[in-house]
């Protein structure tokens, strides 16, 4: 569970802006919510800390969405790195290094311009997968307002952040057709994965 501020406000989601529609949120009586992404950990980790620092955060997230490729609960991994000269080029290089360790040495990445309220510039990235492109996650340079919201001076410090889903690569790797099978508790399925 997370506060609305950490999940949206501090991450520069304006109120009454269609950016909030990007994520179907589960709200709790009293205004808290089930976090829709791991990015609020940026706020928790950066507030009160002085750069330089690097974080990696895996975690469970929730969105009010249910079909063959969407499940109300899934997993993300978030990474962020802040320093005096941490650049978009560093972001690309880091993700390349990560992708090659995870998917193999000849893996290629594609970065597409995108929009996230909490990064600017923002990108979505695709990874080569069986002859095509597989959408892998989002990334970008941490928005100056997010740094400011954490008490970090964006004139001096800058950094990147990335986040990707963990479930989809797992489905592909094991050839599981439907994400629901991961969370259905069916031992006939799960025992195959151990």
């Amino acid at each position: 569970m997370e506060t609305e501020w950490n999940n949206f406000g501090a991450l520069n989601f304006p109120e009454d802006h269609p950016a909030r529609d990007l994520q179907d949120t589960f709200f709790v009586e009293g205004g808290s919510l089930l976090r829709t992404h791991t990015s609020p950990v940026q706020i928790r980790a950066m507030t009160g800390r002085t750069p330089p620092f690097r974080f990696v955060v895996p975690g469970r997230v929730y969105r009010n969405d249910l079909d063959a490729t969407h499940y109300p609960m899934f997993h993300q991994i978030e990474g962020f790195c802040v320093g005096e000269a941490v650049s978009f080029a560093d972001l690309k290089g880091t993700l390349y290094a990560f992708a090659r360790r995870l998917f193999g040495e000849d893996t290629k990445l594609r970065f597409r311009a995108h929009f996230f309220p909490f990064t600017e510039p923002s990108a979505e990235m695709d990874v080569t997968w069986r002859g095509g492109w597989l959408e892998w996650g989002g990334c970008g340079m941490i928005h100056p307002r997010v740094l400011l919201n954490c008490g970090i001076d964006p004139q001096r410090w800058q950094g990147f952040a990335f986040g990707m889903g963990l479930d989809r690569p797992a489905l592909l790797r094991f050839g599981i057709p439907n994400i629901q099978l991961l969370f259905d508790g069916d031992l006939r399925v799960l025992e195959q994965l151990s």
Binding site: D16, F88, A89, H114, L187
Partner: protein, 809 residues
Amino acid sequence: MRVPLGWLAEWIELPPALDELVDRLTAAGLEVEEILRTGPDLSGLTIGQVLERRAHPDADRLSVCRVDVGAAEPLEIVCGAPNVAAGQKVAVAVVGAELPNGLRIKQSKIRGVLSDGMICSTRELGLGEEAGGILVLDAAAQVGARLTTVIPAGETVLDVEITPNRGDWVSLLGMAREVRASFSGTLRLPECAPPESGAPAAEAVRVGVEDRTGCARYAGRVLRGIRVGPSPGWLVERIEAAGFRSVNNVVDVTNFVMLEFGQPLHAFDLGRIRGRQVRVRAADSGEKIRTLDGHLRELLQSDLVIADAEGAIAVAGVMGGADSEVTETTREILIESAYFDPPRVRRTARRLGLASDASYRFERGVDPEGQVRAADRAARLIREVAGGEVAPGVVLAEGDPVPLADAIRLAPERVNRMLGTAFAPGEVEALLARVEVEATLTAEGTLVCRPPRYRPDLRIEADLVEEVARIHGYDRIPNTLPEGAISGVSLPPGRETREAVRSALVGAGFTELMTLPFVGSEDADALRLAPDDVRRRAVRLVNPIQAERPWLRTQLVASLLRSARANRVRQVDELRAFELARVFRAVAPGALPDEPTQAVALIGRGSAKRLWGGDPPPVFFEAKGAAERVLAEVGVRTSFRGGDVEPFLHPGAAGEFRVGKSRVAAVGELHPECALRFELEGPLALLTFDVDALARAGRAARRFREVSRFPAVERDLALLLGRDSAAGELADAIREAGGESLQSVRVFDRFAGPGVPEGKVSVAYRLVFQRLDRTLTEPEVSEALARVLALLARRFGAELREQQKGGGS
């Protein structure tokens, strides 16, 4: 948004290869999600004329035709259709052409005659079923021309995802600008100014903006004497290709122009506007309006409406009202083209559950300068398709203007530091110019930038850095690694323990489950929780995905039992599964809940009889053994006490593991009432772990202990005890009495039978003594053993059966 490519090509020259366009738009942030077609692709086919038909020498049903396709020599084509005849104009697929079904035509020999192509039927063209042979074209069709000159070609349509920051992209104009930024070229804007005649528009209607923050500009055009009816084919084709339904010529034009310029328009039946007066104002509280979809809507003061002299006639930016709708009898219309406050439109649209194509665009922000142009364009087109005359002049009312953004100062070295690039100032300027950002280089080397007004998303330096990167291409930015060494990697508290519990459970043969945390309210009772149990304090979701499961779970036991039941239904008999997750317990209203991490494992034995090996030991012992193994692997030293520890466990077959005074784990057979509630038959035991408590205990236990240089002394004690003595409590007592030189205690044998009195059991312990500072003396060890035996005798009535020096005994 759906973008018909033929339509876009009228606005700007497109690159010849579709892939190139799709890849570039996608890289620039306009992700092409799907490429659709409105009809078969006939671009590879040619119009031909049959000059001569003669019988095939070897086949009765075939004929050989000489066909003129505009080339120097006519082609010889073998044809099987009965209706082919000299003089016909036909659709020809020459050698190398591709049919809509993907078939590529090759030169081939048919029953000994060489055929240079194919005369096509409607089925082969993808235009319908066979109708007795080849398709015969209109006699006026031009030989040698493309088939698409006489048959509507069908369009390629890109389905593009628009990010919420780019209201300007939701139009052909926006797409065309993006194509220009990537490939250069010149925009070809359509003619907008309408020919005017008759009395001035200002005499037909008065407009006024009363809610000045809600509406920056309200522009109107008036048409008289129009005929509302079906739209012409070209208009229907265009808007249908873009995913809109054709309504009538007036409504279709307003949608067409919205697609062109991104400016939503609304047409009112001017004859039904009371008082010939239009006011943009806040709704009265409780004011009602019947919207175009037929629903009666009640409004709040925060909503913005378009009203006539008597009441609301439209919900501004969201949907028009039924009472002023354009119908077949409408002769006189007012076209509305306005700028409404984006958050205002969004709030109303959301509250009313009315997301329209108009509200979608207003929410994202339309071009604050595009109102008059769009009204003009619509007036011009309506006059073309519905007749009538356009009244001279635009009726216009202004509210508070959309503020002009401050110029943005951008230092080129800042761009380079942010991106890891090495652009010269001129390069940055040139890249920005491609998206119509005017940049001037000051003497100090800073660029002073003014974005175009249709780009409200460009407000700060970082926004411009993104534009530079985007237009340059993200893939052309170098790949480097952050400088600086990483010092002091640390894990958050608890993480290590969590992974240790997980891997220990997996090692013990349990399969991990992950299930949704959403539950109904019945779990607390089903687990027999007491009224004041903390696990009754659940957090409730406002918008659950299933109405009957609005609560977040406070424990994992019920979920695991339900999973067990579901697996039994699927005929999985032997169960060994666990779940490890945070649970949610309400603390105070508005505060974030407590989220302890728990692990619960389950062993369920199937009903199938074992073929060999006799009866297995009770499932409780198996569960307890597994729990001990997990705790040992986590590295926590615990003591066990049997008893009634959890309401959902069998009071006679359960117990808890403690570190000091606090419970870190519990184990036991499922309470029979719970077994009934969860419909679980057969022996079934649960293991629960308080992962947070284990983390606290585990940290202490794993602290480094100095190793002694001096020899250890081992002593084995065989004790006669009552059969119900708890081995854990005995070990605790031995440690208590053994003193600081006692390093470890463990049970290595347990025996009842010959030689052991009735009702007693013999339990053997191995004690290890050692000191860090010196070698222990024999009297010291003997004295410690005497203390141990005395305490055990006093507390448990233990008798010494045998004592030995340890090590190989």
